[in-house]
């Protein structure tokens, strides 16, 4: 079929947003591994990816589902230790170990999600701390989980998928990126599905949802399961790709709060919020350290810096809650809307 020049052709309808995402993805896959230094990958990109994924998992439960959890780090720990033990004891391949780890985290997530069927609000939030403390206790107490290592810290197995060696920074980055992109796509499908609508219905008015026939119990438990599974995979990335050790210590209450802060700052009930929030949480301490070493030339010691970081982080949280409860995501939304308006006019 030939098109003569004078026949008007409707311009192809392109989805700008999808195009933008594709471009972003292309940069992340093709450009970043080439130009990013090992330092940037190891100190910024890997923790960013792991925490984004954890934030995404928590956002599903808390942002979309309205069930506040203060125990995210516990599920990161479950994921990391489960993957480690499946590989160690059953000798399964890494991809299978990740699937099994996600399943384990999901199962434990359902167990600790059971109280949500009876409890609401703060009573539930506090009870999720039980998961945090119990899991951390069990992993520290029973050295079986860390293969009886004296220190409780074990080196993560080499990252290999099939015959691909991913142990170098670039490889670990691509490994993490693949998992994050794949799971993000799944979450996108979930929140757009009827089940995702049910989740928001339960969050917005649980009683009304029940009366009109939304399966509230199932919705909640499935949310706990999927959220925990995702956070579990985030734990695998954290331990395998970022730290390269498996240890309970880093999966503490502060980490759980960190994940919660990510979604508050980034934007509850949005997908991009988890990424924006994680970016801020990861980059902000580095910026702070740079600034202070630049401004005070090493007069500020690391301990003080940590405290300043804590204070500023707390202030940021409060500020966001007061001034922009919809987080960075809303700010970005306004910015792009303005940009689009300018483009259309210009």
């Amino acid at each position: 079929m030939s098109l003569s020049a004078d026949v008007p052709v409707a311009p192809p309808r392109v989805n700008l947003r999808a195009l933008g995402l594709l471009a972003l993805l292309a940069v992340a896959v093709l450009v970043v591994p080439v130009i990013a230094s090992p330092y940037v990958i190891e100190a910024i990109l890997l923790p960013f990816l792991a925490l984004s994924l954890a934030g995404l998992g928590l956002n599903l439960l808390t942002g979309y589902g309205g069930q506040v959890s203060l125990g995210s780090a516990a599920f990161m720990a479950v994921g990391a230790f489960a993957a480690y033990n499946f590989q160690l004891r059953l000798g399964v391949s890494l991809p299978l170990a990740i699937v099994l780890a996600a399943a384990t985290a999901a199962a434990i997530g359902v167990v600790f999600g059971l109280p949500s069927l009876r409890l609401r609000g703060f009573y539930l939030a506090v009870s999720t701390l039980a998961a945090q403390f119990f899991v951390q206790w069990a992993l520290t107490k029973f050295s079986w989980f860390s293969n009886d290592s004296a220190s409780g810290v074990v080196a993560a197995p080499r990252l290999t998928v099939a015959s691909l060696d991913l142990d170098a920074p670039q490889g670990r980055y691509l490994f993490a990126l693949t998992l994050v992109v794949g799971i993000t796509f799944l979450v996108h499908r979930i929140v757009g599905s009827r089940a995702g609508v049910n989740l928001i219905a339960v969050r917005d008015d649980e009683t009304a949802a029940k009366v009109i026939g939304v399966p509230v119990l199932r919705t909640k438990l499935v949310a706990f399961a999927i959220s925990s599974a995702i956070i579990g995979v985030a734990g695998v990335i954290w331990a395998y790709a970022y730290l390269r050790t498996v240890e309970p210590a880093g999966f503490n209450l502060d980490r759980s709060f960190q994940v919660l802060f990510i979604i508050i700052i980034g934007g509850l009930a949005t997908i991009r919020g988890a990424f924006l929030g994680a970016a801020l949480i990861v980059v902000f301490p580095l910026l702070l350290a740079r600034t202070s070493s630049f401004a005070f030339e090493g007069l500020v010691d690391a301990g003080v810096l940590k405290l300043v970081e804590r204070v500023v982080l707390g202030l940021v949280i409060i500020l966001f809650l007061i001034a922009e409860p919809n987080g960075l995501s809303a700010i970005l939304g306004r910015a792009t809307a303005r940009l689009r308006a300018v483009l259309r006019r210009g």
């Binding site: 089940a195 917005d204 939304v214």
Partner: protein
Amino acid sequence: MSTTVVRLAAAGDAPGSGVFSVAAATTSAPALALDGICLSFGGIRALRDISFDVAPGEIRAIIGPNGAGKSSLVNVISGLYRADAGTVQIAGQAFARMPASRLAKIGVARTFQNLALFPGLTAAQNIASGLAFRRRSGLLAQVLGLSAARSESAREDEEVREIAAFLGIGGVLDRLVSTLPYGVQKQVDLARALVAEPNLLMLDEPMAGLTVTEKAEMAAHIRAVRDRTGLAIILIEHDIGVVMELSDRIAVLDHGVKIADGTPVEIRRDPEVIRAYLGAEAA
């Protein structure tokens, strides 16, 4: 969707063929029967020995001053409150405690006095939630976009559009429900209940807070729904004019006691009602 109204009208002519399923109009069993319902909150006796029935296809009003127990009664039927005594019988099944989570499956739908919509969802999603109870496709099928899930949600979307067009809110389906005017939200609440094609519909003050025109529109919708589908309706409403005009029978509650029950004409004449409730207006 101008075809909708036609289809609904056709459904009225030939019961059973429309988008709404038709209540078991052929059987004489009541759509709902309450027997000896008692309910108290601490010292307050909200309902005292209430017996009450609704025939298929009937618009059954409940009136009474604020705090009389009208909403409590609907909440007992919905399974939100547990009656201290008495039974609720729906479609031949008797319950000491209504299971709120199975209400929709039993064929009962309701609206709420203080809107209980989901503000984070669009009007269409709110209405589609009314179909969640009969949805068959699971999460996995939905996420993978299997054809069964896709055609199911296409069918749901179609039903949502039909109901919305019928109620005149087709234009706002994609808006977040929290951004809609109050009167429209009331219609969305009604649509969410109607889309489930219930046999019994309970409307708790559907016209409260509406303008005169909106009220008239709502009244017309309620009557049209009943006429065309033959479902039974419990209507709680303060506007006596509307109640008298719409309902087949009226029950009057006062302080948790049913003080009168009958046709609009009987209620208008009932001395007890005039004293307790209509008194102020009659005087």
